[in-house]
Amino acid sequence: MTSSPREEIPFISIGGGLGSFALVHRLRIAGVPEDDIRVISPHRAPYERFAALCRASGLLDEDKLRSDSSARMDNLWGFPSYAVEESWRTRRPGPLARVLAEPVLCDYYTPSVGLMRAGMARETDRIGWDSMLVEGSAIKVARQTGGGYLVLVRRDGADRPVAYRCGHVHLALGPAALQISPEAAEFRSGPLGGDRIVHIYEPHEHVHEALAAQGGEVLVRGTGIAASRVLQRLIDDREASGQDVRIRHLFRHYQRGDVGPIWFRKRGGYGFSHQAFNFPKAAVAGQLRDRTRRLAEDERIEFVKEIGATSTPYRGYWASQLRRGRDEGWYQAVVGEVAAFKTDGDEVVARISLDTGKALEVRAGFVIDATGVDRDSRRHPLLADLVADTDASVNPLGGLRIDEDFTVVGAESGDGRVFASGMNAQGGYLAPVDSFAGLHSAAMSIADALAGRGIGHRLTPLKSVLGWLKWMRGQQP
């Protein structure tokens, strides 16, 4: 059924998104040749999926990401940082001054989507991404007798899958799917389809166009960064078009102010909980990382949930928009859960059970769901198979169970190992593993583990500096 297996490749990364990129970037810098690496992905560029999600959620090139200046996707050293680069390119000291004062005197500096993408594009070329890329989807990872793995790939347009033999596998497949609640899914299978209830990561320009043209009610679910981003966009629409755009914002949990004892106080208010990044910076490397490392799984997962609870960065402009909305009555918070969605004419009626126990019906032209993505690895066919065929297992946060080196526990094959990073590794020893900094941190650990298995080298200070100089000069690694 498959074409004949090719000669063995030492290392294959499946996904080809930011997670694969971080690892391949690290391996290439420490001297692993292009021929020893294959990347399997349906996308050509490693930032394609990321960029698509940004675009869908309304983040344009000049919009700010939610990331630290030195969490630099295209440079494992984080030096020079995004702020330095931006200052350099724009010849303005602003970004640099800002990193100096953050987060005490001003909000954190964050890079823009365009800056991140441009850097990624350069680095993708430099490390020879195209020559390592196999375009297609992996449909199976199987253990080989005698060690190593067999990866079945369905290449675009080909009718038969191709098999690749390899020593080690890395998985960074991102989310299994967008998260659509059962009520919403049911509604979307009805007559109005997916037009009225949209997911924030799906293209949904029509919603903004319709509201800008004639105003109307819109219901927003979710309290994370994507939700606050869409609120800003809706209010911008309202102000630019002069139409009466009315926003109902559904909170599952409403945070009334700062909470917690002084040594663990979280900022919040008006329903939101505020944090600069998804996880505090200290969860990447500092004290909080140490703590996640020490805790046993159940405690760790509780802890990860606590420090990574849905939050959004506090930004002055955005807060003032919402304040105006509250004062003028066109922005209203509702606390509860949706029990069902119904159709009424061409409107959606959401039946909400309020946290007070009462029920409320909200009528809206559109519902924008910003509750996130499906994080459960078991709903990813490839991972579901892996869990079924090997001793690999999934933790309560939906990530594969991994050890400190990001090795998927139970999926060993002789000397071969499966590694995971990004969303597929959440719930492990690195809480922010699904962020730029986390992907790089994971990549360093995985690459060191691979070096211990004869693939590439550890980044000694000398190698590292030489690699860095090459990066600075834009030379091939």
């Binding site: 984080g78 490397a285 004290q287 941190s441």
Partner: protein, 370 residues
């Protein structure tokens, strides 16, 4: 910067020992006023030592922050209290430079350089540093992936960290004490590294130098210089070598058996100003200092200095005072005077047989020039 406590300590020690010391050696010559490299390096040692306590304080402050993050601007600003607290410690240890400006320039520039190093360059060298909470070496069992339980491996990591930090702390303490002792002790004049705060080498000299700067070179060639010194009362007869300030304003010392004339002091026989002659007072039997019998000198004794132009200047001893190492009143001793004086400064001992450190200063007034 998100550092763990162990990471903080390691980072501080490593950066001060590498970057701080290098930077100090580089800028010492450029600092205003007399500064000895040894004392400046010892200053870094003191900052490292005090820093171990400071890091604990920062770590506690960090606990008050929800995100347990330590913004890099805090690290920068922390230099101010650290500098203020280190000053009295340096004064007490006799390591403080003569002027506060010198200290501020030295401390401030070192602090900024280290801070800058932390913002990037260090990451080019140690890419894992920032992911390991500021640790340089975390033990990782290569190739044994999954073979040991995570907690056990983590404990090993921590043990290694503890050991590494312990070694670092010990090194810093040894370094600090070593440099302090070396710098503070009166070492034999033949050792070039001699000198504590306030040993020969002062602000006055700066001024002299400034005064003559213009005419200096032409004048230098044909001006007479002292060639020999003799004190018959205690049997001293020695050629005089010329002593120049080393880089940093401190003076080199002659070999033990020789005396030397400080080229920046007055020429003996001049009608005003202080001429300075320096030598060792070591009382050792094997290699005694040229001035070992100075304690027996009495007021009224004569000191003769012969110059290159054949003239002889005769001075009469008026007094003798000894100073502990850290209390040498350099300003006073070197201050220009209206009267023509000669001061013999001896290093390496006091007036009594047991004293093995300190300075004795013999003051004499010009009696005649022939």
């Amino acid at each position: 910067m998100t550092l763990t406590l162990a990471g903080r300590l390691q980072t501080r020690l490593v950066l001060l020992a590498a970057v701080g010391v290098l930077w100090t050696l580089l800028i010492v010559p450029a600092l205003p006023g007399p500064v000895s490299a040894a004392a400046a390096v010892a200053t870094i040692g003191v900052i490292a030592l005090l820093g171990l306590g400071w890091e604990l304080v920062y770590h506690l402050c960090q606990q008050l922050r929800w995100d347990k993050d330590w913004p890099s601007v805090f690290t920068l600003v922390a230099g101010v209290p650290e500098a203020v607290v280190a000053w009295p410690a340096l004064v007490a240890l006799g390591l403080a430079p003569a002027s506060v400006t010198t200290y501020v320039l030295h401390f401030g520039s070192t602090w900024v350089v280290i801070w800058l190093a932390m913002q990037g360059p260090i990451r080019a060298l140690f890419p894992r540093w920032r992911y390991d909470g500021g640790l340089f070496g975390v033990h990782r069992s290569e190739g044994e992936v999954g073979s040991r339980s995570e907690t056990e491996r983590y404990r090993m990591t921590r043990r290694t960290v503890a050991v590494a930090t312990g070694i670092g702390v010990t090194l810093a303490v040894v370094l600090a004490i070593g440099v302090t002792v070396l710098g503070g002790l009166q070492s034999p004049p033949s050792d070039a590294s001699d000198g504590a705060a306030g040993s020969p080498g002062t602000a006055e000299r700066q001024r002299d130098r400034g005064d003559n700067a213009g005419s200096r070179d032409s004048a230098r060639r044909n001006r007479p210089i002292p060639k020999r010194v003799a004190i018959r009362a205690i049997g001293v007869r020695s050629k005089l070598v010329t002593l120049d300030a080393k880089k940093g304003g401190r003076m080199e010392l002659p070999r033990r058996a020789r005396a030397g004339w400080d080229t920046r002091s007055a020429i003996p026989g001049r009608k005003k100003g202080v001429a300075i002659i320096v030598g060792s007072i070591r009382k050792s039997a094997i290699r005694p200092g040229v001035f070992k019998k100075v304690p027996r000198l009495e007021a009224g004794a004569k000191i003769r200095v012969r110059r290159s132009d054949g003239k002889k200047a005769i001075y009469v001893v008026t007094g003798m005072v000894s100073y502990p190492v850290d209390q040498f009143p350099a300003k006073y001793i070197y201050a220009p005077t209206k009267e023509p004086l000669l001061r013999i400064i001896t290093a390496g001992g006091g007036l009594y047989p047991g004293n093995s450190s300190g300075y004795v200063v013999v003051t004499s007034r010009l009696d005649a020039t022939r």
